[in-house]
């Protein structure tokens, strides 16, 4: 019987396809290794003793795994004259990041809701101005902001840092929510108005439940921004309110005598861990949220 399968013809190119596929994987794998290399070196170094670092080479596995460096980094390393490790600063960062993220996300959601669903005169101008806020280089605002914090009496405090991060996060959070809400048909708001719901009721009962994907996006974005911030942290804090990024810098720069690479590496990883965690936990939703658009009623 004659073979009339339409796939016969395609067989040679099938092999080509597989080769291409594997070639792609290989290339992607190489890139992944390239990107992961620094992290690998950091983790390995943090698990070695100082002796081993001095004698061994950079990418070799530790002969003897020790968590001493981690312990020191967390609670014993010196930042200048104090030797409390990263721990107090880690909590400072948490105290700044969590309210900062929550407030800026909530306000951004409100802004986006008002701008996209409650047509008022000048909505577009206000939105453009807020967008402009996203592109102002932070260095420009340092001095005015310092003065303002001073006048408000919250200079050098954690609420002061929260305030700064909320203000500079608003542009982005508003942008995210506004673009998300623009695709929601205005009839939804209209129907709710006829049903008797007011401004906050509509926001709370109809828009917030719709916003999970964009809330995830905004939270990840804001958390990364606030947690990783160094400039505001170093400019607007004082002893005792410094965030983890500033502490890391101080630990790495203020070691006297022998440079403790393992402690530096452990401290760096500690500082980066929360953002890594947020990506791992919510990264899936991040991508989904960025691509999710229209809501079909």
């Amino acid at each position: 019987m004659a073979d009339i399968s339409p796939y016969t013809e395609a067989r040679p190119s099938q092999a080509g396809k597989i080769a291409l596929r594997w070639g792609l994987y290989l290339l992607l794998g190489l890139f992944a290794i390239f990107y992961l290399m620094p992290l690998f070196v950091m983790v390995m170094t943090s698990l070695k003793s100082l002796d081993e670092i001095r004698t061994g080479d950079l990418i070799s596995l530790p002969r003897e795994v020790t968590f001493d460096a981690w312990r020191t980094a967390w609670s014993g390393a010196c930042t200048g004259i104090q030797c409390e490790g990263m721990r107090p600063y880690f909590w400072n960062s948490m105290l700044i990041a969590i309210p900062g993220v929550a407030i800026s996300t909530l306000l951004g959601a409100m802004n986006g809701y008002v701008i996209s669903q409650w047509n008022f005169r000048g909505a577009n101008i206000i939105f453009s101005l807020m967008l402009f806020g996203c592109f102002i280089p932070f260095q420009v605002v340092l001095l005015p902001m310092a003065r303002m914090l001073g006048m408000m009496g919250i200079a050098g405090t954690i609420p002061g840092l929260i305030f700064v991060h909320v203000i500079y996060g608003l542009g982005f959070t508003t942008l995210f929510f506004r673009n998300y809400y623009v695709s929601i048909p205005s009839e939804l708001t209209k129907a709710a108005k006829v049903d008797g719901a007011g401004f906050f009721r509509i926001f709370w009962s109809i828009f917030l439940p719709l916003s999970i994907p964009i809330i995830v996006v905004t939270v990840i974005w804001q958390f990364t921004q606030i947690w990783n911030d160094f400039l505001f942290g170093v400019s607007f804090s004082q002893a005792g309110t410094q965030p983890v990024t500033v502490a890391l810098n101080n630990i790495v720069n203020s070691t006297t005598g022998v440079k403790e690479y393992n402690v530096d590496m452990a401290a760096a990883i500690i500082a980066a861990l929360p953002t890594l965690l947020v990506y791992v936990v919510a990264g899936k939703y991040f991508v989904r949220g960025l691509t999710a658009g229209s809501v079909k009623g």
Binding site: K190, A191, K193, D195, G196, I206, G297
Partner: protein
């Protein structure tokens, strides 16, 4: 008693485009007002203005005798079904329907009772736990209806609420709506593209075109005495035949002469209408042109016409011919002997004929 809805000189523009021009409508309690008009003529916009969802650019509007021109939608005591349904995507069907009552603080027992009643009426009981995303278009539409029907407002606004239902369900819902209207005596403003819906439901029809009201009247007035060529052409399916004709007055009445290609003109006489200008457009409904045997007496007059197309449609058969340079449709008996390409003896009944001016398009008689 003051009218339940009164609209005076309403204008509405988006930017510099005027969408609604000088709208004047008034309906009494218990009226069923149907808005018809071609797509984009401003029907939904008018409903939005009545609901207070779009600010109006001029004029005034009162509901239940109270001036509502600037009152917010939630205080207008209206319920509305949106053309796009506008169901709340994150709420279940049941929650969608009860949201309005919940917001207004109706107690839970009443909510449940009304929900059950409306769900049964609209045949959506099995769907109550689903989200709108898991419903078909027709099901969503019924949920949207339910959301309005659980309320007890002064005025219902419906924007094509049955457009997505299958033929059978649509007839059922239509009957249901009519019963509801009669039972509650509720006042309604209803937008539809469906001629039969308009005719069967309305106590009053408003025909709009390009944001201007063309005619307001009872279904029978709109159907039998269209105010202009647009209304004549728009209402009724198949549409009214609009045939250019020449008139000649005599003692017996007016002679109407319709030119034909390759044939002698048809001359009909109308004893009722006199003083018509020489050039008119004669409007005759398809059912007023019938088999010779069917229409007799009164104004019926026979003429033999060459049939071009025969379209059987169940109960009737439509025959199309050329008169006065136009396609003219006659509604014949289903067992008619008419055949395409052959002449057929037909009767014209001018008893309900309309005459329009070819220049202004306005009704002459």
């Amino acid at each position: 008693m003051s009218p339940i809805l009164e609209i005076n000189n309403l204008f509405k523009s988006y930017g510099s485009t005027e969408i609604l021009k000088d709208i004047n409508v008034s309906i009494e309690e218990g009226d069923f007002l149907v808005l018809v008009g071609p797509s984009g003529c401003g029907k939904s916009t008018l409903l939005n203005c009545i609901a207070g969802l779009e600010p109006i650019s001029g004029g005034a509007l009162s509901i239940g005798g109270r001036d509502m021109t600037t009152v917010s939608p939630k205080d207008r005591d209206i319920a509305m079904v949106f053309q796009s349904y506008a169901l709340y995507p994150t709420m279940t069907v049941a929650k969608n329907i009860t949201f309005g009552m919940k917001v207004r603080g109706v107690d839970a027992a009443t909510q449940a009772e009304k929900l059950a009643y409306v769900a049964q009426q609209l045949q959506i009981e099995p769907l109550l736990k689903r989200k709108p995303g898991q419903l078909s278009g027709g099901q969503r539409q019924r949920v949207a209806m339910g959301r309005a029907l659980v309320r007890d407002p002064k005025l219902f606004l419906f924007d094509e609420p049955l457009s997505n239902l299958d033929a059978k369900l649509r007839v059922e819902m239509r009957t249901e709506l009519k019963a509801l209207h009669q039972r509650l005596g509720a006042s309604m403003v209803y937008v539809t593209h469906d001629q039969i819906e308009a005719m069967t439901l309305a106590t009053k029809i408003v025909v709009m075109k390009g944001g201007v009201i063309q005619q307001i009247g009872t279904p029978s007035e709109i159907y039998n005495r269209p105010a202009n060529l647009f209304v004549a052409d728009f209402m009724g399916s198949p549409a009214m035949n609009l045939i250019p004709a020449k008139t000649r007055s005599s003692d017996a009445g007016t002679h109407i002469e319709i030119a034909r290609e390759n044939d002698a003109p048809i001359v009909l006489s109308d004893s009722k209408n006199r003083d018509l200008p020489q050039d008119v457009i004669l409007g005759v409904r398809p059912e007023d042109i019938a088999d010779a045997a069917k229409l007799a007496g009164g104004e019926a007059q026979g003429a033999e016409c060459l049939i071009d197309i025969v379209e059987p449609a169940g109960a009737d058969t439509f025959a199309v011919m050329q008169l006065g340079g136009k396609h003219v449709t006659a509604r014949l008996h289903s067992e008619t002997t008419a055949a395409a390409g052959l002449p057929q003896k037909l009767t014209f009944d001018l008893g309900k004929a309309s005459y329009f001016s070819p220049d202004t398009g306005l009704r002459l008689n």
